[in-house]
């Protein structure tokens, strides 16, 4: 079967489809940013994108390199201070979706971006959580997007940077968290949904050309598949063109700016 898109592209596009026009979305660093902006440039023109630098309702023409690029401020409805962002807008309950990436993820949507190995004597010191711990607990629900790998999708994460569903079931409730937490995971191979009872991520849709075996081989836990497995619709002409144009503009802008 010949495909006219890459695994990265279908991941970004499938992730963008999860967002609605009325969403207020807190955009995490990295992969989520492309998906959120493709949503805004296709089916969700009025979506409010928020970056933790304080830019609210931003509409960047190119993807930012960091969460504090000037482009985000120039195109925002308003830019507020960082404490206002975290206190009023995030903690205040005004954000419907938090979109996060992950260095390490487990099947209950717990995320590690802090350390590989022991915290006090790590084999790799990662950047840390930034806004993620409270994005994960204060947004209405959490979407996660990441490329599948045995290193990234693991049975047990080394550190709980942000809390998903803990050890499953009603762990969030027990921890005193009232929001839904991770409900959706979009990888380069599949779409996963959180099981309403166990809270484990279940594969509900395979991207075109992907097999169950491919999903399992690049995932460190025993993968559960939904009884009725769907196929993710291939990108439309509009979706793929929008994404590629956005990436081309981004490359051109960052190359000319820094060179």
């Amino acid at each position: 079967m010949e495909l006219n898109f890459t695994p990265d592209e279908i991941m970004t596009i499938a992730a963008s489809r999860a967002l609605g026009n009325d969403d207020v979305c807190f955009v995490g660093i990295g992969a989520p940013s492309a998906a959120c902006n493709v949503a805004r440039l296709t089916h969700a023109p009025d979506i409010a994108l928020i970056y933790e630098s304080g830019t609210i309702g931003t509409a960047p023409d190119v993807l930012p390199l960091s969460i504090g690029d000037g482009e985000l401020c120039d195109t925002a409805v308003t830019t507020v201070s960082v404490p206002e962002m975290f206190r009023y807008w995030l903690q205040g309950g005004h954000v419907s979706v938090g979109f996060l990436g992950a260095a390490q993820l487990d099947k209950f949507g717990n995320i590690n971006t802090t350390v590989i190995g022991n915290y006090n004597n790590p084999s790799i010191r990662l950047p840390g959580g930034g806004g993620a711990p409270e994005i994960a607990s204060s947004c209405g629900e959490i979407f996660i997007t990441m490329k599948q790998s045995l290193r990234g999708m693991v049975e047990k994460i080394d550190f709980f940077t942000s809390f998903g569903h803990g050890d499953g079931g009603n762990a969030r409730e027990k921890a005193g968290i009232k929001t839904k937490g991770p409900t959706l995971l979009i990888t380069d191979l599949a779409i996963w949904k959180s099981d309403p009872e166990t809270r484990e991520f279940i594969v509900t849709s395979l991207h075109p050309g992907v097999t169950r075996d491919m999903v399992q081989k690049s995932c460190g836990w025993a993968v559960q598949f939904a009884g009725e497995l769907e196929e993710t619709p291939a990108p439309t002409e509009l979706e793929i063109t929008t994404l590629r144009d956005l990436q081309a503009r981004t490359r051109a802008a960052h190359e000319s700016a820094g060179a």
Binding site: G68, P83, G131, A132, P133, F160, A175, G258
Partner: protein, 285 residues
């Protein structure tokens, strides 16, 4: 009352060995020139505070000036990890460093509490999060009205805060525009503050009434250092030098290369080099 000084004087009078110091800037207006002056003056045993320690903190850590780092996200923005920080944490080179790690929400609340003169910050956070197990300064407090259990952290109250801003007027008031980050809180939370600015203008008569302004009586020292935020950017003046951030990843990867670069580009230079570094990055005003 704000005093106009050279950066050399401002650092000498306001930053001392053993201080708790913040060089703030949330990916924008990062006070590189001020930090480089601190490096040249050889300050040591510092406790550095910052939400997003990046290249300039990597440099101070690599130069062995830092005893403790209080932070919430340590990365080279858009590039990756901080290699000098990693070397200090993973291999104690050039020496070990104590870290107190928080989330952004905690740090933002802690600065705001410091600016408000409070001993602690209270917020809804850290639920289920691993940092609670490794940071003794993350505690819980019960709301006396609702009974809700909330997170508590000590406020941030630096001995001195350094920020970079677009403008000061001749009276000494300071104007910050664009992504304003945590700079106002960092200044108000600190005992002393040093502000480097792109330019000094006659007055702020044309400025919007709700603009972010620090009045002259809230600032200790002002230094005019055009380009002083390079390689970060100053909204309205110059754009980020993305190539410099990429280059840093290579320099910081090697201890000898790092020391050579610091010698040539920091130790043997002065604040005036910053205006040259932004020559090709200026925004069309």
């Amino acid at each position: 009352m704000a005093k106009f000084q050279t950066l050399k004087e401002a650092v000498a009078e306001n930053l001392f060995d053993g201080d708790i110091a913040a060089f703030e800037g949330f990916t924008h207006l990062i006070p590189h020139a001020a930090a480089h002056e601190a490096i040249r003056q050889g300050r040591t045993d510092l406790t550095l505070v910052r939400m997003t320690p990046d290249v300039v903190y990597d440099q101070m850590i690599g130069m062995g000036m830092v005893r403790k780092l209080i932070f919430s996200y340590a990365g080279n923005p858009g590039v990756g990890l901080l290699r000098r920080l990693r070397d200090a944490v993973e291999n104690s080179w050039p020496k070990g460093i104590e870290i107190e790690e928080h989330s952004h929400a905690a740090m933002a609340n802690a600065y705001e509490a410091g600016a408000a003169g409070l001993p602690l910050a209270v917020f809804r956070g850290y639920k289920g999060v691993g940092l609670r197990d490794v940071n003794d300064n993350i505690r819980e407090i019960t709301c006396p009205f609702s009974g809700e259990v909330l997170a508590a952290v000590p406020s941030v109250r630096p001995d001195v805060s350094f920020i970079h801003a677009q403008k000061a007027n001749r009276r000494g008031d300071v104007l910050i525009e664009g992504i304003i980050g945590i700079q106002k809180e960092a200044v108000l939370a600190a005992k002393r503050s040093v502000v480097t600015v792109e330019e000094i203008v006659d007055d702020f008569d044309d400025v919007h009434p709700n603009a972010c302004i620090l009045p002259r009586w809230a600032v200790t020292s002002i230094c005019e250092i055009p380009g002083g935020a390079h390689p970060s950017y100053a909204h309205g003046y110059y754009i980020r030098d993305n190539a410099a951030y990429l280059e840093w990843d290579k320099i910081a990867a090697d201890r000898d290369l790092f020391r050579e670069w610091m010698q040539k580009n920091v130790i043997e230079t002065g604040p005036s080099v910053f205006s040259e570094r932004i020559a090709l990055l200026k925004e069309n005003k």
